[in-house]
Amino acid sequence: MTYTAIIIGGGVVGALTARALAKYSCSVLLVEKNSDVAAGSSKANSGVAHAGFDAAPGSNKAVYNVLGSRVMESVCEELDVHYKRNGSMVLAFSEDETAELRALLRQGTENGVGGLSIISGSEARALEPALSGEVKSALLAETGGILCPYSLAANAAECAALNGAAIIRGAEAADIRKEGGCFTVAAALGTFKGKYVINAAGLYADKISRAAGDDSIHITPRRGEYMLFDKKLGGLVSHTIFQTPHKVLGKGVLVTPTVDGNLLIGPNALNLDDGGASETTLAGQTAIWELASKSVPCIKRSGLITSFAGLRAVADEDDFIIGWSKAVPGLLNAAGIQSPGLTASPAIAEYLAGLIVEAEGGLGLNPSFNPCLEKRPAIPELSEADLNALIEKNAAYGNIVCRCETVSEGHISEAIRRDCGAVDIDGVKRRTRAGMGRCQGGFCMPRVLEILARETGRPFTEMTKKGDGSYILSGKR
């Protein structure tokens, strides 16, 4: 068959675009090179829905950030993704920085961001008692939010699949040809034909566009390291705390609660030439710690749960590249989607889907399209009565597998069985939070592995952390 569109990349942009296209009568295929969706930049970032005052007016970043920020809450509601409008603050530590905050406020207003105001240092500390006494003033952005980024990508892919999109994981697009008005994408698991190709390949968007015959894009991976703290520190701040942006380093190091109740600090910024190198470094960890401590001096290092690094895809243009390729008709690029890419992703997806509909001269609606996923509340979100009802129906919901995050066997099985469900340990973790807590899977990992093996009908030794090569066990005794 020939798909209407083949989407390359299962991050937030690719997955939400698949869902946006599934609204229409058309056939959609999403191919993802990793073993699972949400396994690239979408899994390791700040998880922040930016208000939209950072980017220069008129830029794609500004436009799609503001549009995305407006719809994010409803998209998350539809897709059963945790989201909270917690508001954000940009701190100024000097008069010069306060002047920059005023410029940011003007820029934000021009971008169409509402709810911006400048408050004094003491007003900021009244809102956030943990802030440093050195804070002179702050830009308060009421529309800033936090969300779970990997849930957004995974749930969008699931929603797309439920609405008819085909999703193939573990399929790296190696070769793309265009013949007679049709693309042929050779991927690891087969060759697929499509009328349009949507390049949402994140760090590899330049490789994909080049493979299709468009040399105009160049992506530099920019690594950012993070430190994630125990939930007991999650209440240290309620807003997302930024520092006055630096001309080179961008938005700089933030201190934020995560939507799931942890405390997160980071990222730093280091340009790399290797798209896969998401290592943490001693220097990087020290740097973000020191910078975060400038904003919030009392973060207890003993509360650290884990450190990680994520890679942002930075285009040479330093703006999102969204739209039809000039060199290859029918190739639609969504490249250079670095920050505020997560916030912008729902708006970018709608825009890309709209371009396909327009190119097709209009498409009928998919009559059975359902934008919503069924709600799957986690145990801490359930009332005792509802939880007992759930256990009554399926006893596996009464068996707690991950004690740190209170995740049941029933929740884990469901996360594996659902459309575009988990296939490895990290996939279970992203969908259920099993292993995300303070013991980092020390207790639950063997049990999750056992459930994965049982659900997939494969031996323990084939179970992986994150796809091919990442086996957990080397063999039987």
Partner: protein, 466 residues
């Protein structure tokens, strides 16, 4: 809402010890909540020997130690609710528990004993930089995979941290055919018992690298190697001392932390180590809530956990029955510092492995290499051990064997009854590997008689499920 006199959280040695003591002091209505499908806490996976020397004056394996308490609890008709996870404790002494069978159940208790044990520190907590591949595993998790599930976590292993679990696993993985390349310890001395360094590392020529840490983890999908480095007195890696070791697994034995989520939720004050703060009667600041075992602080020996839990159980009983708390209470065991003096040419240092005291003995050799005399041993047994060690060294071997019957499959722990020649350990592993159990059996049952003609029988150390 159900009611009970005493709710004990955890059926490990601490919980069972406390429940038994409470029963002894007159508490009738006791319930132990255990999240696992088997009582014993961590002991069932601790198949090695060395437990019970203080308590029972004999050397037991983990499963055997647990079995003694389990049998006593059965005899006393103390109810152990398995597969039941306590998810919340409130300061008014209500325990919220969850299970497959009963869903969410609330127990209103007159007293509660916290006995949840401890958990392992992770890579994240100690911030080892580098990539995030599969193959970084804590020693306790590896122990579960090997001893309970019957799988190997890797083939070429570097261990960070010389805690006892790590040392025990170095030996266990070596006996199962893995190559343990080194044990790195950031401190100038090991945190493990001396006898474990002797039996688990020295016996197998596994190097213990002191003042050394893992500086970076390499590998994209699976660990491909680690960079180790010496550290300075502030534990910072010293530039120029880095060494790359290829391996597929980094195993962590970097400390244990008391479980404290439930303690905190119950309003129990925590000590600096993160554990529940308890006085010498094992009382916490919340009236009616007691704590014992590794939930208070991490113990070197389970024997001490038992002593402590009996104090907790007794005082919980006094509390329930309205008796006045009294007696001298429980004193925490303090580790005695271990110092080494200089040796003469004909002297050898030897750590006694006869008991956990691990006497630091000095063996003086005669011209022929025989033992002239032994000093530093606190008992006669140590002297005999030293002579034997220099002539024909012997060890107790522990392992597991697979069983399959009545649709039950799993691995059962075994040990040699008495010690066997050290040089035959690997050959003995080969003999034990041939065994498959296909009918019910119990602890103490002989599964190999006269192993390799050594005179030592191989016996089960746990009851198989019926």
């Amino acid at each position: 809402m159900k009611t009970t006199d005493l709710a004990v959280i955890g059926a490990g040695p601490a919980g069972m010890g406390a429940a038994l003591a409470a029963r002894k002091h007159g508490v009738k209505d006791i319930i132990i909540l255990e999240r696992a499908d088997k009582a014993g806490g961590i002991l069932p996976q601790c198949i090695h020997n060395g437990f019970g020397l203080h308590r029972f004056r004999e050397e037991l394996t983990g499963p055997e130690y647990a079995l003694r308490f389990l049998k006593a609890a059965e005899k006393e008709h103390i109810e152990i609710k398995l597969n039941s996870m306590a998810i919340e404790i409130t300061p008014d002494l209500t325990v919220v528990a969850m299970s497959r069978e009963n869903g969410v159940v609330r127990y209103r208790a007159k007293a509660i004993v916290l006995a949840m044990g401890c958990r392992e520190r992770t890579r994240g907590a100690i911030q080892i930089p580098g990539a995030r591949p599969a193959g970084v595993i804590t020693a306790g998790t590896a122990q579960r995979f090997v001893n309970i599930e019957g799988y190997m976590p890797g083939k070429e292993i570097v261990i960070l941290g010389s805690g006892d679990v790590g040392l025990i696993m170095a030996r266990r993985l070596t006996l199962e055919g893995a190559a343990v390349k080194a044990v790195c310890e950031i401190m100038p001395q090991s945190g493990g018992l001396r006898r474990n360094i002797s039996q688990c590392l020295n016996d197998f020529n596994i190097p213990l690298l002191l003042n050394t840490t893992v500086n970076e983890i390499h590998g994209r999908e699976r660990v491909s190697g680690v960079t180790i480095a010496r550290v300075d007195e502030k534990f910072r890696p010293v530039s120029g001392t880095e060494l790359y070791i290829p391996c597929d697994t980094l195993m962590l034995s970097v400390g244990l932390i008391p479980e404290n989520e439930l303690s905190r939720a119950a309003g129990v004050e925590l000590a600096e180590n993160g554990g529940a703060k308890a006085d010498r009667y094992m009382r916490t600041n919340v009236p009616g809530i007691f704590a014992c075992g590794n939930v208070v602080h991490v113990h070197d020996l389970v024997d001490y956990v038992t002593d402590e839990s009996e104090e907790a159980g007794k005082n919980a009983a006094y509390y329930i029955l309205g008796r006045k708390t009294g007696g001298k209470g429980y004193t925490f065991h303090q580790k005695t510092p271990e110092t080494d003096e200089a040796l003469a040419v004909n002297e050898r240092r030897l750590t006694c492995i006869v008991c956990p005291v691990g006497c630091n003995m000095i063996v003086r050799l005669d011209e022929k290499g025989g033992v002239a005399d032994v000093s530093g041993n606190k008992c006669k047994k140590g002297g005999y051990y030293a002579i034997e060690e220099f002539t024909a060294p012997r060890r107790v071997l522990t392992s597991t064997v697979p069983y399959e019957f009545n649709r039950e499959t799993g691995f059962a722990p075994v040990k040699t009854k008495g010690a066997m020649p050290k040089k035959l350990l690997i050959a003995a592993m080969g003999e034990i590997a041939k065994i498959r159990l296909n009918k019910p059996a119990g602890a103490g049952d002989v599964i190999i008689r006269d192993l390799l003609g050594t005179g030592a029988d191989v016996v089960l150390t746990d009851d198989l499920p019926l």
